[in-house]
């Protein structure tokens, strides 16, 4: 999904500006998209394999204060629900894509939703993110 890397780098930037240290967890492709887009690691800091990160949280080896789950399909909802169940982090569901409204409707667990119909143009989702301003919460 084209907007994903752009919004992730923007969110990392805003969090770092607010003094929050972001850690990215994703599958190999998602992490590689960020590494290639930010070769000098100006924005991207620690990056983990998603399954390894989940293992560490479940085994109480690690946890976070905030968690942003990027969602553009049903799998993303499953991962967000899992984070809600295993982590003490304040949970944000960042939902985008052509059918973002159907995805939002399927979220029935506690979290704050940041959602917009964004596929190629990141601006609608950036606008929603700026309105919620989770880095200031």
């Amino acid at each position: 999904m084209p907007v994903q890397t752009s919004i992730a780098l923007y969110l990392i930037h805003r969090l770092k500006q607010a003094g929050i240290t972001p850690v990215v967890a994703g599958n190999r492709s998602a992490v590689t998209l960020l590494v290639v887009a930010d070769p000098k690691r100006e924005y991207l800091g620690e990056a983990l394999d998603l399954d390894r990160a989940i293992d560490q949280i479940i085994e109480h080896k690690r946890d976070f204060d905030l968690c942003f789950v990027f969602i553009h399909n049903d799998s993303g909802v499953s991962y967000a629900a899992t984070m809600g169940a295993i982590s003490k982090a304040r949970l944000y569901a960042v939902v985008y894509g052509e059918h973002y409204d159907q995805i939002v409707a399927s979220i029935e667990f506690p979290c704050q939703t940041i959602a917009a119909k964004a596929v190629h143009n990141p601006m609608p989702l950036k606008k929603m993110l700026d309105e919620v301003a989770p880095w200031a919460a």
Partner: protein, 90 residues
């Protein structure tokens, strides 16, 4: 989660939703248990929206396996020890 991919599994549902997997288990298997996200089956932490249904059919364990870009797959694996372990936690 590499270990699941090394199991001799049969795919019952491919690239489906978590709801479809839950409904399939309820509709096709008389015996099932509900687990929470992160519960370990075959050394793998299960991803999903609670309650996550896991079916039991003799020595077979039927469970959802989620991949970030491909949706949820409903897998059936024959393993007596794991089936018995899951039964004892009912």
């Amino acid at each position: 989660m590499g270990c699941v991919e090394e199991l001799p599994y049969e795919v019952l549902l491919r690239a489906s939703s978590f709801k479809e997997c839950r409904e399939y288990i309820k509709g096709h298997f008389r015996e099932s248990i509900n687990v929470t996200p992160g519960f370990k089956i075959f050394d793998t932490h299960i991803i999903g929206v609670p309650p996550i249904s896991v079916g039991l059919d003799g020595d077979f364990v039927i469970f959802p396996y989620t991949k970030p870009c491909h949706g949820t797959f409903l897998l059936r694996v024959e393993n007596r020890a794991e089936a018995e372990r899951l039964r004892t936690r009912k």
